[in-house]
């Protein structure tokens, strides 16, 4: 979902951040903090803790901007990855893993349609990923959601769903392969 032009722009912005340009950081924040906030809230289910995670994420971006590798995707992917990682760390270190492991099925948040307030481009991307997820068989989609949004390992997913570990592994592999094929940029098809 991130084209070469976006990557070039991200590289330029992160280069400025690495040199200490607060305005460049603010630009990245304005563009991507809502995504970081969304994933943090989804993982932690607590807006206040999610705000802490967003703060940590952008401070880490400030510290590590010089390490950005444009070949590994756009800034939004990097930011979302940091935010998700920090949120899962917090979930586990706070002893809340049990809450997630036991309560996720009750608090499971299904895929959502794009919000009307989102900008057109975001809505298009959101709809595209949602379409890709919707195309997956239900059990593969559930496996990916438990892995990505709940931070469960394959073994934990197997325990949660009552499926053999080998089945879970196969579902992860198949689902990720299908998503990659579906989300591949048009010009790569």
């Amino acid at each position: 979902l991130v084209g070469p032009a976006d990557r070039d722009r991200d590289r330029a912005l992160l280069g400025r951040v690495a040199r200490g340009d607060v305005r460049a950081l603010r630009t990245l924040y304005q563009e991507h903090a809502p995504r970081a906030m969304a994933i943090a809230v989804r993982v932690l289910r607590d807006p206040q803790e999610a705000e802490d995670i967003v703060q940590e994420t952008f401070l880490e971006l400030w510290r590590r901007a010089g390490q950005y590798d444009g070949a590994r995707g756009g800034a939004v992917g990097w930011i979302v990855t940091i935010a998700r990682s920090r949120a899962i760390d917090r979930l586990r270190s706070a002893g809340a893993a049990g809450r997630a492991l036991e309560g996720a099925s009750e608090t499971h948040v299904p895929l959502t349609l794009p919000s009307p307030s989102d900008c057109l481009e975001q809505r298009r991307d959101q709809a595209r990923v949602a379409d890709a997820m919707a195309m997956l068989p239900a059990e593969q989609r559930q496996t990916i959601e438990l892995a990505y949004f709940e931070g469960l390992s394959q073994s934990e997913i197997a325990a949660r769903t009552g499926n053999p570990l080998g089945t879970v592994k196969m579902r992860v592999k198949l689902a990720m392969g299908k998503l990659a094929a579906f989300l591949r940029p048009e010009d790569a098809n």
């Binding site: 979902l1 991130v2 950081l25 603010r26 924040y29 903090a33 809502p34 995504r35 906030m37 969304a38 994933i39 809230v41 705000e51 703060q55 952008f58 401070l59 880490e60 400030w62 510290r63 590590r64 390490q67 070949a71 590994r72 995707g73 992917g77 979302v80 990855t81 940091i82 998700r84 990682s85 920090r86 899962i88 760390d89 270190s93 706070a94 002893g95 893993a97 959502t112 794009p114 919000s115 989102d118 975001q122 991307d125 959101q126 990923v129 997820m133 990916i144 892995a147 990505y148 469960l152 390992s153 394959q154 073994s155 997913i157 992860v172 592999k173 990720m176 998503l179 990659a180 989300l183």
Partner: protein, 243 residues
């Protein structure tokens, strides 16, 4: 692990859902000199897919005051490498002093004046370390390196106070410039605690709160190079047996 075996697991590795042993095997494979059959690229591609999954969530703008809070903290983070080295050198002196003084405070009866001199001007983490040394029930556990050149570290912990300080020295450079603490209990995957900055001189320290003791003291404390997103320690450096 062969490239074929790695490629079977690359998506799960990128998604962070592998169990500890499998994840470590993947890390070792990626660290092997080539030729690979597209292994690093497979991880990069899968990571991009994983990150795009967040796009299924409606964007959620943070409250306006959050940016101000971030901006206010930017000054705490050193930007100038030269300045950073100077700060670390200064702190390095305190690190050594803390280890020596801490041991001294721990092993001999306290002299109020001597303690005051020792504490004066030290950074907060060293103060915390030395403060812990004087508390009843404080333990000092030395980490065991997992490989040559993994550095050395000590944890000063007090279960009653639910506080601990980890002091590292001579740690090898980490890709992300940070180390990460993990707790481990027998038969369960490690759980990540916070990451902490690693100086260019291989020095690092962390203050750990109640997370370390919840719900009880773990069997082991691990230190690895920080690899954001990795569900398990990808480059395990040091282990402390706490039980």
């Amino acid at each position: 692990m062969t490239c074929e075996e790695f490629l079977e697991s690359s998506a799960a590795y990128a998604l962070g859902v592998l169990d500890p042993g499998e994840s470590a095997a993947c890390v070792r494979h990626l660290g092997q000199p080539g030729p690979h059959r597209g292994c690093p690229q497979a991880v990069t591609d899968a990571q991009a897919v994983a990150a795009s999954l967040a796009g299924t969530l409606p964007a959620r703008p943070p409250p306006p005051q959050l940016w101000r809070a971030i901006e206010a903290r930017l000054g705490e983070i050193p930007r100038d490498p030269g300045a950073r080295r100077r700060v670390w050198r200064e702190l390095a002196g305190w690190f050594v002093a803390a280890a020596v003084i801490g041991f001294y405070l721990y092993s001999v009866p306290l002299d109020g004046r001597r303690r005051a001199v020792a504490l004066e001007g030290s950074p907060s983490v060293v103060k915390d370390a030395m403060g812990l040394m004087t508390e009843p029930g404080t333990r000092l556990v030395v980490f065991v390196p997992r490989r040559p050149g993994a550095g050395r570290a000590t944890v000063i912990l007090n279960a009653a106070e639910r506080r601990a300080v980890v002091l590292c020295d001579r740690a090898p450079p980490a890709a992300a410039g940070r180390l990460r603490l993990w707790t481990a209990r027998d038969g369960r995957p490690p759980i990540a605690l916070e990451s902490f900055a690693l100086s260019e001189d291989g020095l690092a320290w962390a203050q750990v709160g109640s997370a370390l003791f919840a719900p009880r003291l773990p069997d082991r404390l691990l230190i690895s190079a920080d690899d954001p997103g990795a569900p398990t320690p990808s480059d395990l450096l040091l282990i402390a047996e706490l039980r």
